[in-house]
């Protein structure tokens, strides 16, 4: 009782960072609940991964079976469900990731668990487990309490918690795979790597990033001219890519690229966490947005609150003049 069970996340042979971030998030909760942190690691050929996670001083329950070679939400749901039945953790943590969002809501329904998605904070107050999450793309926070239950379930936002240094001293225990044969109703086929484009924006020194605030494709020359004057490459938010203004390889964020330029000029981008995850490593961030409450300003060094359609042409003109 009081234990926190984390579903480890890995893909193509590597543990994903969210696993270590969940370990950091779990330690305080486990202490307050009077339990310990246990990690469930399903997959195939897991010895290295198990050792890497155990180094965080936790017990790793390994379910190593060729049937689990690639992530499959339906199979992983069976494995995690069986572990919940066997170990009765007070809290189960899954990443709010492409894997986690494909699995956790169905598990919550199947096992009738109190469930909160995309959690950025967790606390135990007076014996009650509470989670913090965000609404309206980060403009509002919500505090949600779990009604008393044997097991609660959360998905944890990426980069919301900072991974700690591994202290060493954990243990690995192999457990049996509850799945005995393959399932027909959902079958993994293959991975297809993202396309490679003409410019690798992960290597760019200066990036001009454009978002939905540009309104229309016919306004693209505004940012193209700005980029040309300062020898920047162009990139954008998912909204800009979805609209077809830029190819997918220019998308910055969780489902696009992670960039770390010296200067990132965000034009008409709101700053959703999926976008910020891809650009917060930039040395200097300039944001131009007419909404003073836009979350992008929380990661910006310089801010202009105004209409980009007016600011950008003037900025281009002045930069041209100054750079002669």
């Amino acid at each position: 009782m009081g234990n926190v069970l984390i579903l480890a996340e890995h893909r193509q042979g590597a543990v994903r960072d969210i696993t270590f971030e969940m370990l950091a998030a779990a330690s305080g909760v486990a202490r307050d609940l009077g339990g310990e942190v246990v990690v469930l690691l399903p997959g195939s050929g897991l010895d290295d991964l198990a050792a890497q996670i155990a180094a965080y001083g936790v017990k790793v329950l390994v379910v190593d079976d060729p049937l689990l070679a690639n992530f499959n939400a339906e199979k992983y749901q069976l494995v995690l469900g069986a572990a919940i039945d066997a170990y009765k953790p007070s809290l189960v943590m899954v990443g709010h990731t492409a894997q986690g969002v494909d699995l956790a809501p169905a598990l919550a329904v199947e096992k009738d668990l109190p469930f909160v998605a995309d959690v950025i904070g967790l606390a135990v107050e007076g014996g009650v487990l509470k989670a913090t999450r965000q609404l309206y793309s980060g403009k509002v926070n919500a505090q949600v309490a779990f009604k008393p239950a044997e097991t609660c379930l959360v998905t944890v936002r990426e980069a919301a918690f900072e991974a700690l240094e591994p202290p060493g001293g954990g243990a690995v225990e192999k457990i049996e795979c509850p799945l005995k044969e393959d399932i027909a109703y959902r079958q993994f086929v293959e991975y297809i790597e993202a396309e490679v484009g003409d410019v690798d924006i992960t290597q760019s020194e200066i990036l001009v990033a454009v978002g939905r605030g540009l309104r229309e494709e016919k306004n693209m020359p505004l940012v193209e001219e700005l980029a040309a004057v300062i020898k920047a490459d162009l990139c954008g938010s998912r909204a800009a890519v979805d609209a077809g203004w830029l190819p997918h390889d220019r998308q910055v964020g969780t489902s696009g690229k992670t960039v770390k330029p010296k200067l990132y000029l965000a034009v008409g981008i709101s700053g959703a966490f999926q976008h910020v995850a891809g650009m917060k490593g930039a040395k200097a961030v300039v944001a131009i947005n007419k909404d003073p409450d836009a979350p992008i300003f929380n990661v910006a060094h310089y801010a202009i609150v105004d209409d980009l359609l007016k600011v950008v042409p003037k900025l281009t003109e002045k930069l041209k003049e100054l750079k002669g």
């Binding site: 969002v101 809501p105 668990l113 995309d118 309206y136 297809i192 998308q251 696009g256």
Partner: protein, 263 residues
């Protein structure tokens, strides 16, 4: 091919000042403009594309207020065939599992091949409703779908993972897919379609009509309690460039960038 597409009427808060009521229990949405959720718009398009290719019908399903009928009619104008609007104050809308259970109540007992939803609602960003709905319906699912190909008795999809990596998988039908933005190019409703949409059936139902007891989907059924909403304190350290107009701000920024050696 029988498809349901679930859509949500959401406020556009990307440029709006968001205020919380005094009790900290609700967002004051009186001055927001509402429209179809971004990802749901792509789901509607995908449903219509599938119908155009494979035949069949598409039923729109939405939980929402009377005003959302404008959005529903727009989906009908784009080629969906009929619609069900669920309105009932008793549903615990803050809990995606209760929303999913309600939607399942409207679908269960009918023949269907596919249910499409958006992968995320832009207002509360749970990314949970579609996947929970699949479990309530007892059918397989895939979340964050960026490509759909109908096969015989199966559907082949590509799920978009981190970094743009695609996971290709096959599901047996019937199945639920949560659709990611960018999967297609949502069409504009043709004028003819808009006229035709006025004559298509749009049924209004409540929990009783769906055969659901309030105690299955209300705040007593929900296992979570929304305790409070608040505006997060932000530790923005950004230097806000002031000026009497956009020109002055732009000029100041240009100097800062050049003097600071940033460009």
């Amino acid at each position: 091919m029988k498809t349901f597409v679930c859509i949500k009427y959401v406020p556009d808060t990307s440029e709006a000042v968001v205020k919380i009521n005094a009790g900290g229990t609700a967002v004051d949405s009186s001055r927001f403009s509402f429209d179809i959720n971004d990802a749901d718009n792509y789901a509607v398009e995908e449903a219509v594309l599938i119908k155009e290719k494979c035949g069949g019908t598409v039923t729109v399903l939405s939980i929402g207020p009377k005003e959302s009928e404008v959005m529903i009619r727009m989906a009908l104008a784009k080629g969906c065939d009929d619609a069900i609007r669920i309105e009932d104050e008793r549903i615990a809308l803050y809990d995606p599992l209760m929303v999913a259970k309600t939607l399942a109540g409207a679908i269960k007992g009918q023949e269907f091949d596919l249910v499409l939803t958006g992968c995320m609602a832009s207002d509360d960003g749970q990314m949970a409703t579609g996947v929970a709905l699949a479990e309530y319906l007892g059918v397989p699912h895939a979340a964050m779908v960026k490509k759909v190909e109908m096969l015989d008795g199966k559907v082949k999809v590509q799920r978009e993972l981190e970094g743009g990596l695609m996971e290709v998988l096959e599901l047996e039908l019937p199945a639920v897919l949560t659709i990611q933005t960018g999967i297609n190019e949502p069409r504009y409703a043709p004028i003819r379609g808009i006229r035709a949409a006025q004559k298509k059936e749009l049924k209004l139902v409540n929990l009783d009509d769906l055969g659901l007891a309030a105690s299955e989907v209300d705040s007593s059924a929900s296992k979570i309690v929304l305790e409070k909403l608040y505006i997060p304190e932000v530790a923005s350290t950004a230097e806000v460039i002031e000026g009497s107009d956009a020109d002055e701000k732009a000029e100041k920024l240009a100097s800062i960038l050049v003097k600071g050696g940033l460009v």
